[in-house]
Structure formats: C-alpha cells, structure tokens
C-alpha cells in the first residue's frame, strides 16, 4: 500500500529552490534512505514532509499525500495534527532537541495525550513502556529526569521514544546518529532496526554506509534534485550516476593496499546558483556539451533503478 506519494515537490526560500521538483514514493513498512551532502536539500525535504519548513519557505507540489491525507489541502491546524500521530521525526542533535526545563516524563505524557484521549495514569504507563522499549534502563527513575541529566545516547533514545509513542505509520529520521560516538551510533542503529519494523522510515543522512544499514532503497540528492534512486545492494555494487560513483570511491575503506582515494574534484554548487544544464557537470569527469546545456531527467534505466544522467554507467 502506498503510504507516501509526492510529485514534483519543490521548496523555495526567497525564490531559490532548495528542493527542486522531486518525486517520492514509499510503501507501508518500507525504508528509504535520502543521501546527500550539506546543501543538497535533503533536510529541507524532510521538513517539508513533516510540515516544519521555516516561515520564509514556500512548498509546492503536484501531489503530496501521506497515509491518505492530501497534505496540501489541509489547513495548518490539521497539518500540524498529523505530526506525532501519522508521522513523526527524529532530529539530529539530541542535546538541543529536548526542552531543558521539562522532565522526560512530562514530555512523553504531553505527546501521548495530544493524540490519545486517556487519563494521566494510563499515559504514564504508556510513557514508561515507551522508555523501556527503546532500551532505557530504569525507566521509572528516568521518567522524572531532566534532559541535562542524560547522556547523548540516552537523549537520542528518548527522542526515538517520543517519535514512536503514538505508533505513527511513518518515521522521518534526520541524521539520527551523526552527533553520536561510534559505539553509541551502533546501538542506535540497532535500536532503529529493531523498533521501526512496523513503521515506514525515511532516513536522511550524508553517510551511504548508515543508509545501507537500515534502508532497502536509496535516493541520492545533489543540488536539490534526486540524481539516482535504486535498491541499496544495486546502488552500492553498480552505481549509475557519476556522483554516486564518486561518493563511493572518495570514502576510505578497509583495504590493506590503501589505494589513493579518488576524490570528486571541485566543490558542490551553492544552492542559490543555477546552471542551464546538469548541476554536477562542473565536477563530472564524463561531462559533455549536452550536460552543460540540458538538465537530465530522472529516468528508469532498469527495473527499480532510476538515474538523472545523460551518460549513466551501464548497470546490467
């Protein structure tokens, strides 16, 4: 069943398209990774889906439906009410994402009672259960704790508990492990893998490896557009877009020969700058005249594989 469908989703800030006409489809229970560097528009995509873009931003789309709701037709109150119940979000920085003057328990009870009409005692029970579910030891003691009394990993578990507590159909996670230490990152990835089986997941990350851990399908974004979309194994084994290829060869891996890395030359184009052709052309080793003149459309090149490139790598 289709949970999310977006056609030609665009987010503009001061007439600059940060997200530039992307299509997204997600089935219930599916996990999609959106991978990109800073400025690629991946975070703005997430904020547009949950409805939390900054006031200066305008969102446009041909269609945007989430769990049967025509999101663009909703008024702001109805739009807001989808948050926490139909979908919720886990943010990057667990240090600033929890209100410092509110106890963990009061945050949980507040989130639960916003969407479920139950009494405080029952909400407390559900909250304690939610803390236990995300692996927080001694939930009763943590219930009355304040955010500053918890470590970064524990806070991120609380954020996940808050996101999951009303059993939403879609979770959007924006770099959920980036701010954490390696061993804690492993714990959180493990937790997300175990706990997000029921919900669909959109994982926003700059790290292809993290996306590969959790997601079945990956969309790579560059300069506000999706440049490649494929099942994870295919994408890692046979990337089609030169940018994806570059990302894979630029990253160090455990190889005793330690070959010289193959960096992508140049730097990403600033979001405010536009080119008549492909935005990656200035950095692309395969760019030809047509790349500098015409924006390539995202097209299906094999079953389940789409790429926006005039000269993609052969994938078959």
């Amino acid at each position: 069943m289709t949970l999310l469908s977006a056609r030609n989703l665009t987010v503009e800030i001061n007439a600059v398209p940060i997200v530039d006409g992307i299509d997204l489809d997600l089935a219930s229970g599916e996990a999609l990774g959106i991978v990109g560097e800073s400025g690629s528009g991946k975070t703005m995509t997430a904020l547009a889906l949950i409805g939390l873009t900054p006031p200066a931003a305008t969102i446009r789309a041909d269609t945007l439906t989430i769990a049967g709701n025509d999101v663009l037709a909703l008024d702001p109150r109805q739009r807001r009410a989808l948050g926490g119940s139909v979908m919720s979000m886990v943010f990057q920085d667990p240090m600033t994402g929890l209100n410092p003057v509110r106890s963990i328990g009061s945050l949980l009870i507040e989130a639960i009672r916003r969407h479920q009409t139950i009494d405080a005692a029952r909400a407390r029970q559900l909250g304690l259960q939610a803390l236990a579910d995300v692996g927080i030891p001694d939930p009763v003691a943590r219930f009355s704790a304040y955010p500053h009394e918890l470590s970064g990993g524990m806070r991120q578990r609380v954020m996940i508990a808050l996101a999951l507590v009303n059993r939403p159909a879609l979770i959007i996670a924006d770099e959920p492990t980036t701010a954490l230490d390696a061993t804690i990152q492993a714990q959180i990835l493990e937790l997300m893998r175990a706990r997000m089986r029921d919900a669909a997941l959109i994982l926003i990350t700059h790290d292809l490896g993290v996306a590969a851990e959790l997601c079945g399908r990956i969309a790579v974004m560059y300069h506000g557009r999706i440049v490649e979309e494929a099942p994870v194994a295919d994408l890692l084994a046979r990337p089609a877009h030169p940018y994806t290829c570059g990302l894979l060869t630029a990253v160090p891996r455990f190889d005793p020969a330690r070959p010289r890395l193959m960096p992508i030359p140049g730097a990403p184009l600033p979001a405010s700058e536009r080119l008549p052709g492909c935005a990656f052309a200035p950095r692309c080793p395969r760019a030809r005249d047509i790349c500098r003149a015409q924006v390539p459309a995202l097209a299906e090149i094999a079953s389940g594989r789409k790429v926006a490139c005039h000269f993609p790598e052969a994938v078959a």
């Binding site: 949950i50 939390l52 006031p55 109150r77 807001r80 009410a81 989808l82 948050g83 926490g84 119940s85 919720s88 979000m89 943010f91 920085d93 600033t96 994402g97 929890l98 209100n99 410092p100 003057v101 509110r102 106890s103 507040e110 989130a111 916003r114 969407h115 304040y146 500053h148 009394e149 954020m159 808050l162 996101a163």
Partner: protein
C-alpha cells in the same frame, strides 16, 4: 532529600555574602574618607553661620580631633555594632530613621515589580511569539523607544495627564489606596521596556530552538508550544533580569519618591544628602546595600528552585 538537594541551592549565598561584606566595607570606607577629604567635617556638619564653640563641640563629640587612622578604627568598630550615630537634623538614631522608612519603599518596589511582570511578560510573549510579523515589529519599535524615556520623566508625564489635566488621581503619596497608582506606575516604567524586550527576545529565540521543532513535530499546537515549552524558559530569563535589576530599580525609587513626596528611604537619602546629614546617609547606604544583597540572594535561590539545570547540576 538531604545535603545534595539543599547544598547547591544555598551554595551561591556564600559568594553573595562575601560580596555584601566587600560592598559594605568599600562603601563605608569611601564615605569615611570622602567626608574627611571634602573639608573639615565639623564645619560642614555645624552648618553655615555656626559659632566657633559649636564647631569645636562637634569636633570633640565626633572625635574629629583624633588622628585619622584612629577615627577610622573607631568608625569601623561602631559600624560593626550597627551604631551609625544620631541624625544631625533631629537627633534621632540614624538607623532607626532609616528602618522606619524602609516599609514604604519596599512595598512600593514590590508593587512595581508585580506590575512590571504583569505588563511585560504577556506583552513580551506576544511580541516574541511571531516576531517577524509587521504589527509586532512596529510594537517592538515602540517598546524600544519607550526604553529611552527615563522613568522619572514618565512620572512627571503621568502627573501632568492624570493629576493635572484629568484630575483623576492624586499626585502626592498619602494614606489612600489611589495614591499608590501613579508612583507604582512610575517605578514600573523604569523596568517594563527592559523586561518586555528580554521576554520577547527569549520567546523568539526559544521559538527557533530544536526542542520547539521537536514539539511541533509531535503535533502540539502553537498555543501548547508557547505555554508549555517557550514561556517556562522566558520566565526564567525574566526572573534573572528582575534579580539583577533590583539595584537599578532602587535608583528609580530615589527619583520616584522625590516626585511623589513618597515617605520612603529614597527621599530620606536625598533629603539627608542635601543637608549633609552624614549619619543618616551612612545608615541609608548601609541598608540599601543589605537590601540589594537580600534581593539578589533570594533571586539566586528562586532561580535554583525553578531551573532544573541549576537545581541538580551538582548531583
């Protein structure tokens, strides 16, 4: 409950106490030497046209004929016993005069702080909640301009309007309840713009915090976010400001009390200063210092009680 809970709350008091002692020592020492520097204190105290004998009597009575260092030691010794001597104008014990005037000033200050909070917190919350809207930007500019109007000028304008033009309210403080209105408003005027701006800034900054985004992502309404997530932080900021600005408020009380002939400590100090009644001046300054200390200490404790980060950071 035990030491771990009480200790962090009381910890700042020891530093405040050191500040108080340093403050009182410096101010009293300053006064002592200033009085000696300014000329022969006996001549000043005796006033114009006093006879030689009067001056000599005062000089001997206050010990001005002794070596300076000895005078200073005696002076400190008397201060340690809270003995400030008698008023030169009416011979009453200086400290008692000051203490008698204290309630009027304190009550006025409390009323003004309550009024300040009642005006500034809602106004600031409204201004900060959607700071980017044109109407609120305009209102914020007005608050900013209001901050440029000295409180005592506000007092004079209020008298002009409500007492002189409209004749609704008395311009002099007396026993009646309505006589409190204008002085309270005047004293509040010293802090309302400042506090409004602090609350507005805190609210608008909180609105951009990640935790507000978290709350919004969980579906909470704007009102719930404002009341339960943003305002608690703004109230902390407001409390901290009121604590640090009490000294400023007391400066305001000085002019306010003069304008409204308010029978408080501020007017006593101004009057005593004008007639060079040093014992009363010293006692006033001493009491003001102690008062500011008490208010600051209370604010510290209040902040530690209501801010969970301070409350249990030591544990």
């Amino acid at each position: 409950m035990g030491q771990w809970f009480v200790a962090p709350i009381l910890a700042p008091l020891s530093r405040r106490l050191v500040e108080l002692l340093v403050l009182l020592f410096c101010v009293t020492t300053l006064l002592f030497f200033l009085v000696r520097l300014a000329g022969d204190p006996a001549v000043i105290m005796a006033g114009e046209g006093a006879s030689q004998q009067d001056v000599a009597a005062i000089r001997q009575f206050y010990g001005f004929d002794q070596p300076l260092i000895l005078q200073y030691v005696h002076y400190l010794a008397r201060l340690a016993r809270l003995d400030f001597g008698q008023s030169i104008s009416n011979g009453l014990p200086a400290l008692r005069m000051v203490i008698e005037r204290l309630p009027a000033t304190l009550l006025l200050a409390i009323a003004a702080i309550a009024m300040t909070a009642a005006i500034a917190v809602p106004l600031g919350a409204w201004l900060g909640a959607r700071a980017e809207r044109p109407a609120r930007r305009g209102a914020a500019t007005l608050v900013f301009i209001a901050q440029g109007i000295p409180g005592y000028v506000v007092g004079l304008l209020l008298i002009q309007l409500f007492a002189v033009e409209l004749g609704w309210l008395p311009s002099i403080g007396d026993e009646t309840r309505v006589s409190w209105i204008l002085p309270t408003l005047t004293l509040a005027a010293f802090l309302v713009p400042k506090l409004t701006r602090v609350v507005a800034t805190s609210v608008s900054e909180s609105m951009n915090e990640d935790y507000v985004r978290t709350a919004a992502a969980l579906g909470l309404s704007d009102a719930a976010i404002l009341w339960r997530h943003v305002l608690p932080n703004a109230v902390l900021a407001a409390t901290a400001l009121l604590g640090t600005q009490f000294a400023y408020l007391f400066s305001g009380a000085l002019t306010t009390e003069v304008i409204f002939a308010w029978p408080g400590l501020g007017r006593l100090l101004v009057n005593s200063v004008q007639v060079l009644d040093f014992p009363v001046v010293q006692a006033s300054v001493f009491v003001v210092g102690a008062l500011v200390f008490a208010v600051n200490a209370l604010t510290d404790i209040a902040l530690r009680l209501i801010d969970p980060r301070l409350r249990r950071s030591a544990a």
